[in-house]
Each structure stands twice: as structure tokens, then as C-alpha cells.
């Protein structure tokens, strides 16, 4: 297993994306497929921008590369997300105007992270912070699943929270 960890500074837009681009490069150098590295890069980039735009004191991105999966955890200690379902709605954004004018804040950040993850979860408490977990099942390229495979994946997804030792009840804040 290989681990990458990045500390992200809040408001530092100029630096935004450096950690994620570096992550993608290192994943590729470490033998991760272009397809998987790209998905991980996208998840990390959106997580990185979320920390820059929204977090009060910055946060961390931790990436664990396993033989079968890439696990990405993005964590901060505030302000927290009030309504997670709303935050996951494409187009919904609470980004401040300065971020929107720089081309961020289209309300696609969390949906993009979710779309590029095979398993995805957010835990958040107002005043305590947010933790986003993404797991990417490694594969060489885009796949189309059969109905049976899709059902199996959906079942695996439902069990995923307990696999990771996450308490599902904590999801709602």
C-alpha cells in the first residue's frame, strides 16, 4: 500500500489543484492506470478546491493506494455542511462570489466527486467539520456493467459504510 497526504491551505486559490495534479502524476508513476489516476485526480481536485473555498482552517487529503482500490479521504474541521443532499445536487452552490468569478462554484464539486467514485460518503456536522470518503475500484478503463454486475455493485455499495467502519447514523448532521 502506498499513502499520499496533502495539507491544503484555505483561500489560497493560486495553489489550488497543485496537490491533485501532483497526486495524479505520482499515481501514474506508481503504475496506476491512466483511467484510475484520472478519476482519483478529479476527486482530489474537487476536494482540494472545496477545502480552499469552504473550509475555515484548511484540511487534509489522504490517499491510500491498495491493489484493488484507491481510497481518498478529504477532511476539514469546519464549518460543516447543513444539508448534504442539497450539497450533492448538481448546480447547488454556496461558493462565495470571489470563487464563482474565478470559475469555481458551479455546484458540481461534490457531484463530480461522487460520479468519479465507486463508493462515496459524506459525514458532516455544523461546527465540527466535514469528512468525504471516496473509494475508486481500480480498473483499466471505462466499463459497462451487465444488469447482474450492476446489482452486485449496488449491494456492495450499500455495505460499504460498515466495511469502512463508518457509522451510517452519523451521516445526517
Amino acid at each position: 500500500m502506498k499513502r499520499f497526504a496533502f495539507r491544503i491551505t484555505p483561500r489560497d486559490v493560486e495553489q489550488g489543484g497543485i496537490a491533485s495534479a501532483q497526486l495524479k502524476r505520482e499515481l501514474r508513476e506508481g503504475g496506476v492506470s491512466a483511467y484510475d489516476a484520472r478519476r482519483a485526480g478529479i476527486v482530489a481536485f474537487e476536494g482540494e478546491m472545496n477545502l480552499i473555498v469552504h473550509s475555515e482552517r484548511g484540511g487534509t487529503i489522504a490517499v491510500d493506494v491498495h491493489p484493488d482500490t484507491i481510497d481518498i479521504v478529504v477532511e476539514d474541521d469546519g464549518p460543516g455542511i447543513g444539508d448534504i443532499d442539497l450539497a450533492l445536487t448538481p448546480g447547488y452552490s454556496t461558493a462565495p462570489n470571489w470563487a464563482t468569478e474565478l470559475g469555481f462554484g458551479a455546484g458540481m464539486g461534490l457531484p463530480n466527486m461522487q460520479r468519479n467514485s465507486d463508493h462515496f460518503e459524506i459525514r458532516s456536522h455544523i461546527g465540527r467539520g466535514t469528512l468525504v470518503r471516496s473509494r475508486i475500484d481500480r480498473r483499466e478503463g471505462p466499463l459497462t456493467y451487465t444488469a447482474a454486475e450492476a446489482a452486485a455493485r449496488a449491494a456492495a455499495k450499500a455495505n460499504w459504510a460498515s466495511d469502512l467502519g463508518v457509522v451510517p447514523e452519523e451521516k445526517a448532521s
Partner: protein, 122 residues
């Protein structure tokens, strides 16, 4: 279309990748919002944008974007251009608007890249 023809068509200056004018530009995506770029799922796409923030190149690197055309006369900083050279990602800059640039490329056979095919696992 080849990059050289694109540059002629939209009267663009080639800022980076001057040695790669035989690059085939056949698909494009136009946007200013970077989060929307990150929703792209197609490889080998040229990006048309008015966004010159350094993140554009980082996003291009993560997504394997093959070239970037900056519109509205926008030019990124020399540091961004240097980074693009390192990454071998050609950059162009045109004074034309995004509307005009897209209209001309579309009329000359450049096609949209696929976007968000809702990764078929749901």
C-alpha cells in the same frame, strides 16, 4: 482539423506547443467554470475557455486535455505557459469571443466531446 489550421481559422497565437502544429483537434468543450471541465469524461478533448487561472493547466493535466484555446484575448501568466510546455499541452490565445471560436470550429468539423455519460454503474 490540425492545430495549425485551428490557429489560422480563429487567428490565434500559439503560446505553448509551437512544435506540435500537426496535433489533431477533432473534439472540443467550451466552458469557463472549471468544475464543469472536471465533469468531462472524454479523452483527447481541446478546451476552449476564458479562464486563465493556473488551475486550468492543472485540470488539463488531470483530465488529459490535449490543448487549450484561451478566448477573449486572454493570456495566462508566463509561469502557466512554462508549465504547459513542460506538460506538452499546447496553448493558444485568440481575441475572438468564445461564441465565435466555437462557431468557427464547429463549422469546420470539430465535434463536441462526450460529457457526463453518467458513468454506467448506477
Amino acid at each position: 482539423m490540425y492545430m495549425a489550421d485551428v490557429a489560422t481559422l480563429v487567428e490565434a497565437d500559439i503560446l505553448a506547443g509551437a512544435g506540435r502544429t500537426d496535433l489533431l483537434i477533432d473534439r472540443a468543450y467550451a466552458v469557463d467554470l472549471l468544475s464543469d471541465v472536471l465533469a468531462l469524461t472524454d479523452e483527447r478533448t481541446t478546451l476552449i475557455t476564458g479562464n486563465i487561472s493556473p488551475q486550468v493547466i492543472r485540470v488539463a493535466e488531470i483530465l488529459n486535455v490535449i490543448a487549450v484555446i484561451f478566448v477573449r484575448g486572454k493570456r495566462p501568466t508566463p509561469a502557466t505557459v512554462a508549465r504547459a510546455e513542460q506538460l506538452n499541452i499546447p496553448l493558444m490565445s485568440t481575441k475572438k469571443t468564445m461564441f465565435e471560436t466555437c462557431g468557427l470550429l464547429y463549422a469546420n468539423g470539430v465535434r463536441p466531446c462526450k460529457n457526463r455519460p453518467v458513468e454506467s454503474m448506477e
